[in-house]
Symmetry: C2
Subunit: 223 residues, 2 copies
């Protein structure tokens, strides 16, 4: 049995923040209710294309490039200006309704709380501040410091190194199975938050915790 | 200016073979005309999740796992049997209409022609045989031999090693920008086949050749 975690690493987009404002803007612009889903999948794919080919570009640059490409694949031409307006929605996302209370309960219970996102450090800082939850984090990390995207093992190892803690005392919390696959293979414990439309990747190692939201998770973690 | 290529490496799915039978089967089963597109994107993403986390599963296993997950994300439960029936369509794809003639013209002009796919060797062999184009290939490669998925540089390097040829004499041909990004960064020349609904990834290095289909490509390559 794993030891009780001391450090909680939170993924940001979808896990803490509700991305429906971005989704709605893209679906409206491309005239298809599934367009944003395809765009986000291609963004995740191309971030790893950069990583496996030994290259790097900011997540926001890749997001923009994928939006341009996805639009063309739907037969639309989105100007750089229009793409910028759409993607600026990323910095104005609301937290899921239970996130503030959930984080506060975990903080009050003595857990160390950090964020780790594929976004740029500037974006993550802006996002958490806009969402009104930045003060609940002990530290905020971007994969920019490593030059590889999650779920590359270096991204988790970097946080452990900076926080001076061993992997068995760390819990990665995400609404994305691929993030948890990487964390688990890097030796961390994992918690899957089953946000709407998310389900486990069948080839994943078993998660240590599964919950509908952060309140449920806090009930599982606080004894 | 690059030297004239001697070895042509062809990607298989979408580039040579028309995947609409698989697409139609998935979209029908999940009741959404974009479901197959999202499934294929997640398959590409999870193949690289395996590669960056240092693990490996057959492409067909990942395809099945992603189909199960994608179905759940649409609120549907697909049985293993049903998934197997759907994915068996992969082995019965027709080539795009101009592929046989295009490959034959390139072969007659003296190019060495090989295939390199993320699929298992068994699947690729079955696919090219069913499509009636297997005899046009000098050799057929699967990334299974390397244990990493395209566009990891090792996959292209493996083919070059086996064919005993230097990268500057090799042209990678694909309908997928991510495949060409990898090939280009591994030092190969690239040709983008602009199949329906495909467009360049804006952060790609410039392709050496771009064509609507293999006949157009053969016109660019044969002098």
């Amino acid at each position: 049995m794993s030891s009780s975690p001391q450090l909680l690493i939170f993924d940001v987009n979808e896990t803490l923040l509700d991305t429906k404002a971005v989704t709605a803007a893209i679906n409206k612009e491309l005239g298809n209710s599934e367009a944003a889903g395809k765009w986000f999948q291609s963004l995740l794919h191309y971030s790893l294309v950069e990583t496996v080919t030994g290259d790097f570009a900011d997540f926001s640059q890749i997001a923009d490039a994928c939006l341009e490409m996805t639009a063309k694949n739907y037969g639309k031409d989105l100007s750089a200006e229009k793409r910028e307006i759409i993607l600026s929605e990323f910095k104005k996302l609301s937290p899921h309704s239970e996130v503030f209370e959930g984080l506060q309960r975990l903080k009050n219970a003595g857990f160390i709380i950090v964020a780790l996102s594929n976004g740029t450090l500037e974006t993550i800082n802006d996002q958490l501040k806009y969402a009104g939850i930045n003060q609940l984090f002990d530290r905020i990390f971007s994969i920019q410091s490593i030059g590889k995207f999650k779920p590359h093992p270096s991204t988790y190892a970097y946080v452990l190194d900076k926080m001076e803690i061993s992997s068995d005392k760390v819990l990665m919390i995400a609404a994305h199975p691929w993030d948890l696959v990487g964390a688990s293979r890097a030796g961390l414990q994992t918690a899957f938050i089953k946000r709407e439309g998310k389900s486990n990747y069948p080839l994943s190692p078993k998660n240590d915790f599964e919950a509908e939201n952060l309140i449920q998770l806090s009930n599982l973690l606080i004894h």
